[in-house]
Symmetry: C2
Subunit: 274 residues, 2 copies
Amino acid sequence: MPSPTQNHRGAIVAIGGAEDKEGDRRLLKRFLNLCGPGDARVAIVPTASRLADTGERYSALFRDLGARTAPIVQVRDRRDVEREDWEAALEGVTGVFLTGGNQLRLSTILGGTAVATRIRRLNAAGVHVAGTSAGAAFVSEHMIAFGAEGATPLAGQVSLAAGLGLTNRVIVDQHFRQRDRLGRLLAALSLNPFPVGLGIDEDTAAILGPDNVVEVAGAGAVTVVDLGQLDASTAAYAEPGRPIQLVGARVHVLSAGARFDLEGRAATVLDEGA
Amino acid sequence: MPSPTQNHRGAIVAIGGAEDKEGDRRLLKRFLNLCGPGDARVAIVPTASRLADTGERYSALFRDLGARTAPIVQVRDRRDVEREDWEAALEGVTGVFLTGGNQLRLSTILGGTAVATRIRRLNAAGVHVAGTSAGAAFVSEHMIAFGAEGATPLAGQVSLAAGLGLTNRVIVDQHFRQRDRLGRLLAALSLNPFPVGLGIDEDTAAILGPDNVVEVAGAGAVTVVDLGQLDASTAAYAEPGRPIQLVGARVHVLSAGARFDLEGRAATVLDEGA
């Protein structure tokens, strides 16, 4: 349980979209368990979605799985922030869940508002934050706003935007296998190899602990892309639409139970799955 | 003088390019004075430039103005980082100066390397960091990599990349008046209104103190763009190449001596110039 005196942030859970909501719902249960077994209070942020019932749908899911409460942060445009009834929804929570939709709705509606500041402070104080699909893209400082599909990186293929900023260590891409997104993740990282890329498949999660170790959970893979040891790159000069040449990219394909240490940039694969 | 025990970062000085190097050289003198009058030791990082003599040119300029030393960080590609002779150049400095050129050279060559980490740590420990033109674009967490000219924002007009990350409070654009860059700065900020935009004219500087107050110095203006109070935006939906509608942007045009508080997002204009 988070308390103002603990000195490490809560977990950041990035889900690649399309998480199981009808079967064993493993990823949602895992997040709920993290937020306090038997006493989870998870606020739902449905801002990414244009559908009217997204918030209620996730609230019902979490309550059905055993959350004590699952209040909805009702912010659909920037004016909603002024109404301040969102404050009650975030009061005393142990977790925050960002739904899917369009990540540019999250960044353009929540960016620079008191809601974003509050969520950042909650996470810094130990509250766990999860996002699925667009919500996963938004959690980090550098967010992929949009970009073309395809396995190889082209100059100008990807557009970055400022995200929520819970960490600047990673850039997340979601629906990774399903939408053929290695190229755009490479293009994003090629602009500055400081962050590590996390390409997250559907129904799969990357869980960033406060120790900056990523654990993989769920059905698919997380593709970790590390350009920190790059020998050569043409990213500074490649013409728009032309391939970016990269020599020496490191790629790790990890599934449930495997870990990646963002400080040491090293992967650990377990013999048994989780 | 920086010391490991002080608990605030050094200043971040973003210069809009084309600073006076032959007349009274006011901005370079101002930075030198900040770095310790009579005892300034300023490392020059010429990585943005493809010209062989850029480092030596600035080193001579700073020594001519009274710097005790002005060593050059000789990093022209990622392999140079492994040579580690750059460590001596950054030893004991009171300031770091990033020259102009191409900001994607800075982010692709220095991003994720020990050189970038060292400069971030020096700044956190109180060492002042200045950049001009490409060097100014690079200092912040969100860097404008490239983008088209023009006064109004178009969807997809601007490409962001991860920068050096000394602050995430601002996005810098340089040669602002001279290259007609309001549109691309608005486009960048429209993706997430959290950072404040600093459009910096040539021979003009924005000096970000450790208190997150920006002071303007030099011959031209700094255009401060604040989308934090936006009433409406179409940034999440505008088609590529079409205008982004923005209602309620706040713009402040500030010249020497004026200040802008990034925490309170408020400008203070002096009656007399500086």
